[in-house]
Amino acid sequence: MRRLPVYLVLDTSGSMSGEPIEAVKTGLQTLISALRQDPNALESAYLSVIAFDSGARQVVPLTEVAAFQAPDIQASGTTALGAALTLLAASIERDVVKGSAEQRGDWKPLVFLMTDGAPTDNWQRGKEALDRVKIGTLIACAAGPGAKQDILRQLTESVVSLDTADASTIKAFFQWVSASVAVSSRKLDLTKKDIGGLGDLPPPPPQINVAGV
């Protein structure tokens, strides 16, 4: 069985407190309920959650959909995006099985990064760490007007944005993430080298803007 590793890297800084963080928690619940109803995702998708504020923690290790429990997260502190990216790179390096002549490797991971503010640490260092690991697709979501899209665009070509970080837009974002994971778990590349970014995922709902378009 080739696994599809999915990393959700979520900003839990102080600015997310209140409605946004509650919406993220609900979003994770809906995401997992939806994936449990999908026989392809149940078979191959594995999820991990990395939360970052003043530091970064892997709050859920890479776990199969059936066993995944939504974490309890709180919003406080600053926005250590660099630490999050460094931890993401280390987690991928450790968790994702690399293929060899004897062993079937996992699919290259699918990463969803969501942040609502400007990084408060050295994010370039995190990017350097991330550049050394193989990722299938990295989707960055700029949640609300405070997020720095120009920085996110240096991480990936696939940047989407939410005009406001409120309950309904965050909910829509998580629904789209779950549809994207479901599609990726049954329909991985054939014509292309890898999951090619936004174009190969379901179209985002209207609340989610595809940045730069």
Partner: protein, 499 residues
């Protein structure tokens, strides 16, 4: 309360839909009709002239060709065929019947539906994977092996009908076939992507597990390149063989232990394309499934030593061997849907109930041994097992073997298609031909055939007519003439089993 919008189809019918999306597929957003008897699926993308024309002929010409003939109603259960095309606010929509109630989960998953799938569609992937079956499904949803045989029979029959009309489905997969293992029914859906070879360019490549090797190998070429292989009837045949293998053995025929490339995408492309290799290849063992790597929930199905494809019996096993050896490289070598339907029907007559009440599969194919046992749970078949070997005369008096047998067990039925070589159980049977003509019963130590509707049944061994309402004891060597009509059969009884 949602707004109800009325439209006229291109075909001139009035239809209506509730203005709320109930589901979104890869290409369409689906809305219910107010009475829930049909749905309209609106394409998100604009449809060009060729696509529009294709939708029109599918709803009109081809629909009429399949459903408009005698026995056409038979296909309503097997196809969710589009009935009309509409246009609304610039979007093209396809009208299609709603799925029958048996295709929605009644119990869903185990432990009081822990996954929350009650009421959702029975997508084939739930059943074609040993892991999903064993870990998640409520046991009441799983169905027995005879019903999986029936499901495969219906799928093969439906594909045979499409192919006879010159149509290729182009994306046959467990996603596009709804199944109900509780009743043995199946229904092909998403028929708006049908391909008419030579007329409309196919747009889909297919679903990864089911794409034919030649399509995988040429998928990187431009769509109009002459070397590019596109979905067609021959690629449907590959998908059909994979589907049948997966529904009967709960594993994929090409996904084994061999790694072709460390890069996952490259490995996928090679193992489904250029270097596709049957996991049960007769001589090349390099792609055998590694049991040590398997998840516990995938056992015993991924153990091809314990559950070899040959347990599917003498009619199906050679077809699997052909489809997954020569057929991988040579599309012309692939068994046709008709070949599969024929083999599945014959196999259903070879099936026996397992004596172990706890056996999940419940039925198995007689393997021609004196003392048969269930390959799934190992339980020996108890008692005597009468087998009817059928013969029929081609010209005049000499009877030749038909390579068809019927296993006898309690309440087994004898039908017209056993009695007459010219009949087969399919859409062409009349209602009268669907009624059983006799049945078998074990009474006071003897197996009996009770004649219900055979006017010319005769025990040739004893030279005695068996009138309707009478019975005859089955014994080794008994010769029974079942019909005197053209194609009428003679049954030679053989006693197998422990006795």
């Amino acid at each position: 309360m949602n707004d109800i919008i009325e439209l006229k189809t291109w075909q001139g019918d009035t239809v209506a839909f509730e203005d709320a999306v109930i589901g979104s597929g890869a290409m369409k957003d689906v809305c219910f009709s107010p009475d829930r008897s049909y749905v309209i699926g609106f394409f998100r993308e604009p449809q060009g002239p060729a696509a529009r024309e294709r939708l029109r002929v599918i709803c009109e010409d081809y629909r009429e060709g399949i459903f408009g003939q005698v026995g056409g109603d038979y296909w309503r259960e097997l196809f969710c065929w589009p009935t009309g095309v509409v246009e609304h606010e610039g979007r093209v929509g396809v009208v299609a019947p709603a799925y029958a109630p048996q295709f929605f989960f009644e119990y869903g998953s185990a432990n009081n539906d822990m996954l929350g799938i009650k009421g959702r569609e029975k997508e084939g992937k739930w059943f074609a994977s040993a892991n999903n079956q064993a870990r998640f499904l409520d046991p009441r949803e799983r169905g027995d092996w005879l019903n999986y045989l029936r499901i495969c029979m219906r799928i093969a029959r439906a594909v045979r009908r499409m192919h006879a009309a010159g149509l290729a489905h182009s994306d046959l997969s467990y996603k596009n076939v709804l199944v109900d293992p509780r009743s043995g029914s199946a229904c092909i859906i998403d028929l708006d992507g049908l391909v008419v070879p030579g007329k409309y360019p196919p747009e889909v490549v297919g679903t990864p597990d089911f794409i034919a090797p030649e399509v995988v190998m040429t998928a990187h070429l431009p769509h109009d390149s002459p070397a590019r292989k596109l979905p067609c009837i021959a690629t449907d045949r590959h998908a059909l063989a994979v589907l049948i293998y997966m529904y009967l053995l709960y594993r994929h025929p090409l996904r084994g232990g061999k790694v072709h490339d460390p890069d996952p995408s490259q490995d996928e492309t090679l193992s489904m394309g250029e270097r596709a290799l049957f996991v049960e290849h007769a001589h090349d063992f390099s792609n055998r499934i590694r049991v040590a790597d398997a998840r516990p929930s995938e056992l015993p199905w991924c153990d091809t030593q314990r559950m070899p494809y040959t347990l599917t019996g003498p009619y199906l096993a050679p077809l699997f061997a052909r489809a997954f050896t020569d057929g991988l490289r040579d599309p012309r070598a692939r068994p046709s849907a008709e070949d599969w339907e024929f083999a599945l029907v014959r196999t259903a007559d070879l099936i026996l109930p397992c004596a172990n009440r706890g056996c999940v599969q419940g039925w198995f194919v007689f393997d021609n041994r004196r003392a048969p046992s269930c390959p799934f749970c190992g339980t020996p078949y108890p008692g005597a097992l009468p087998v009817l070997n059928f013969y029929s005369s081609r010209h005049g008096d000499s009877f030749r073997p038909d390579d068809q047998r019927l296993m006898v067990y309690t309440n087994q039925s004898l039908f017209e298609w056993h009695v007459n070589r010219h009949l087969a159980p399919n859409e062409r049977l009349t209602e009268a031909q669907k009624v059983r003509v006799g049945y078998f019963v074990f009474h006071q130590g003897t197996w009996w055939l009770v004649n219900e509707r055979l006017p010319h049944c005769r025990d040739l061994s004893a030279g005695r007519d068996i009138a309707v309402g009478e019975r005859v004891a089955l014994r080794d060597g008994l010769q029974l003439l079942l019909s005197r009509e053209s194609g009428g059969r003679l049954a030679l009884v053989q006693m197998a089993g422990g006795g």
